[in-house]
């Protein structure tokens, strides 16, 4: 029993110094994540969480184990306060403290006895149990809908931003070209306005 408690205590300690990162691009690899977080502290392990049940565009998430809990806290606060991007922009990643349920290889919590029982059709609780089952599926549907909505929002934002980006880029290109081919200079002379001369390339 002692060993179980120790194992669980070690596990809890590990959880404290692990951070959960999501909104990662699918292009991010372990090496990239490790390199990007190495500047904050010693990264021991990076493990991606496989996505079995959710739609594909949700973004990758990973559990990053660090050397100690302080490093973990620092990273979380840094990432939360300013936009940190890994492997693509401008969508920043999110980080928060890991929870025990995020690990699928966790040890058994000691001191707990699991009991279960089958309900017969004559049992008074059967109705309630059936309702609960319905509730579970209802909740699942709600979650699915919420997720869909979220993904739609994200895509909308991405589209909007692409447009803005492209428009801004065009503007800059235009300015660049105008300055570059000295049209701006000549116009400035005409209108007696002072404009910086284009640098000779």
């Amino acid at each position: 029993m002692g060993s179980l408690m120790k194992e669980y205590a070690a596990f809890e300690e590990k959880v404290k110094r692990t951070i959960f990162i999501d909104s990662l691009s699918p292009a991010a690899t372990e090496a990239v994540v490790r390199a990007s977080l190495d500047q904050f502290g010693n990264v021991i392990q990076v493990k991606f969480i496989p996505n079995y049940l959710e739609p594909k565009n949700v973004g990758l998430s990973a559990l990053v184990e660090l050397e100690n809990a302080d490093q973990a806290k620092t990273i979380i606060s840094e990432i939360s306060s300013s936009s940190f991007m890994i492997c693509g922009m401008p969508r920043p990643v999110r980080a928060r403290a890991a929870e025990a349920e995020m690990f699928d290889d966790r040890p058994i919590k000691p001191g707990r006895k699991i009991v279960c029982r089958w309900l017969d059709s004559s049992d008074p609780d059967v109705e309630v149990a059936k309702k609960m089952k319905h509730l579970v599926s209802k909740h699942a549907e709600e979650a699915k809908f919420c997720l869909k909505h979220q993904l739609e929002e994200e895509e909308n934002l991405a589209k909007k931003q692409t447009e803005i980006l492209n428009a801004t880029y065009k503007k800059y290109e235009l300015i660049d070209s105008v300055v570059g081919n000295r049209v701006a200079e000549r116009l400035a002379e005409r209108y007696r306005v002072h404009v910086a001369k284009a640098e000779q390339q």
């Binding site: 029993m1 060993s3 999501d22 691009s25 699918p26 292009a27 390199a35 496989p50 996505n51 079995y52 049940l53 739609p55 565009n57 949700v58 973004g59 998430s61 300013s82 936009s83 940190f84 991007m85 492997c87 693509g88 922009m89 401008p90 999110r94 349920e101 699928d104 966790r106 040890p107 919590k109 000691p110 001191g111 707990r112 006895k113 699991i114 009991v115 279960c116 029982r117 089958w118 309900l119 017969d120 049992d123 008074p124 059967v126 149990a129 309702k131 609960m132 089952k133 579970v136 909740h139 979650a143 919420c146 979220q150 929002e153 934002l157 991405a158 931003q161 803005i164 492209n166 880029y169």
Partner: protein, 554 residues
Amino acid sequence: MIGTFLQEKQKEMVPSIHDSSPAMFERLTSHCDKYQMFPLQEAAEEDSPEFSWGAKKGKGALNKDVQFYKSFTYAGVEFNLYDCVYMYRHGEEEPDIGKIVKVWETKTRKRIVKVVWFFRPTELTHWLGNIKVLGNELLLASGEGVGLSNCNPVEAITGKCNVVCTSIDRRNPQPKDRDLETAEFLFYRTFDVGTQEISEKFPNSIAQIEVEHFFNKVTDLKQPLHYGGKGSLDKPHSFGGATVKTTLKDDQPGRNTQSTLPPVTLVKQTKSSTRTDQCTTISQCQVTELVEKGRQGRLGNVSETDKTVARTEVKHSYCTPSTNALKKRKLQDLSDTTPFDQHKVMKSTSQVIEVTTRVKEGASTWFKERPWNDRLQEAQERGTLVLLENLDPSYASTEVEDIVKHALRKTVSAKMVQHNTFSNPLNGKAFLIFKSSEAAETAIFELKRRCLMLGDGRPVVARKGTIQDQVKSKDFPGHLSIGKLKFQKLGEEMRKAVSTSHYAQSNTIEHELAVEWRVLQEQSSLWWKALHQEQAAEIEQLNSKLKNPIKNSV
């Protein structure tokens, strides 16, 4: 090399099998290549289990470079000639069982064992037809042909297996009751792979080995099995408040002998209805414990890897009088208690089943299982994948396996699904891989038809598992690029910045866009929180309507 030569030969002989059911056919042929696929090169790597040879037996007659042995030690376990072992076959959930009949090392330092196979009844349904088989019965291969034996690398062995022969052949030393209890499997019939006949008669030799070697060893039966004593296994542990009464075993040795494996009770009619009533739920746990102990007993002081030892140590409270008292009380409470049939597995009354950690039968723990991902994909294809929902999210994967074992009487491999960004903190999910698709279907059906309530008053929901394709999508909404051509114009630095990581600088567009994203992220986490809170409230409401909640003692 002898190994591949034999396999080649067997491959050639395949077409001659007529009228074999497809499953058998595939199994026999697949033996040849599927074992080879198991990485041989791992033998050379440092992290593979340690191996050392035991007593030598002599050199090969044909090939002087081949050295035969009588025994070897692999990963801390000693294997002797004529021991029965589990062998893992690539792509199968269940290991195969065979008897080692030859052990040798080739010139190229490859360690090979030749095993004669035992067939599981499920593999011979075509020939068994309506003949009844016992739950843990095997059939020994005999005769000549494909499927009789194979030569495989030692590394394919995943553990020792305790197989007892119960044949009444006069050459077979009869097993005692104790041996039957500790046996994992038994056999008394053979399946001739040439004539495809099942028979209770044993020929004089199988695979050129005298049949006496296939019967029980004379020394086996004299092995003392210390399930009464206090070995290193019997450390008293308390689990969940109920203390282990290891002394119980001392007091009631008689009880142990009576609680045999359910199938074996068909053979040995030791029925005493009161005793077995109490024992039904716990018989499974007890026997697996005894099996472990039996194995430990035979191996002497050699203990298997830490994991199995840790599990055997947690042999807790299923024998305590308190559990029986609880059961009795429940029996009195409910008005319509039907007397339960000792062979009927599902309880007809709402009996509280205490879920205890069981010892892993069979495959030993040093064996590296295939990566979970592959197993999931495969299980989905075969229809053996089930998704359980509404579990307590703090369960460990092994606890889920135990629950299924106790409630559904099925062995599964389970893993909890890791919580993600959107996971409901109250709802734990787990993937189960069953051994067959029928087992999976019956399990889902049972869970749908009846309600399995967990400790905190929540019913387990099961459905067919489907997993997303693990193909990574290239595009990620939110990661923008200005267009390929233009991207190339951007300098080296720019590219570096994108491919690694950086902070947004406040005078760039990037920064503004990033802030927009963060706003969206905050919004989304808020609405998820709200959703989960609402759902939790709904669950609470229903929960309070439960009349007999079982309190989980956390």
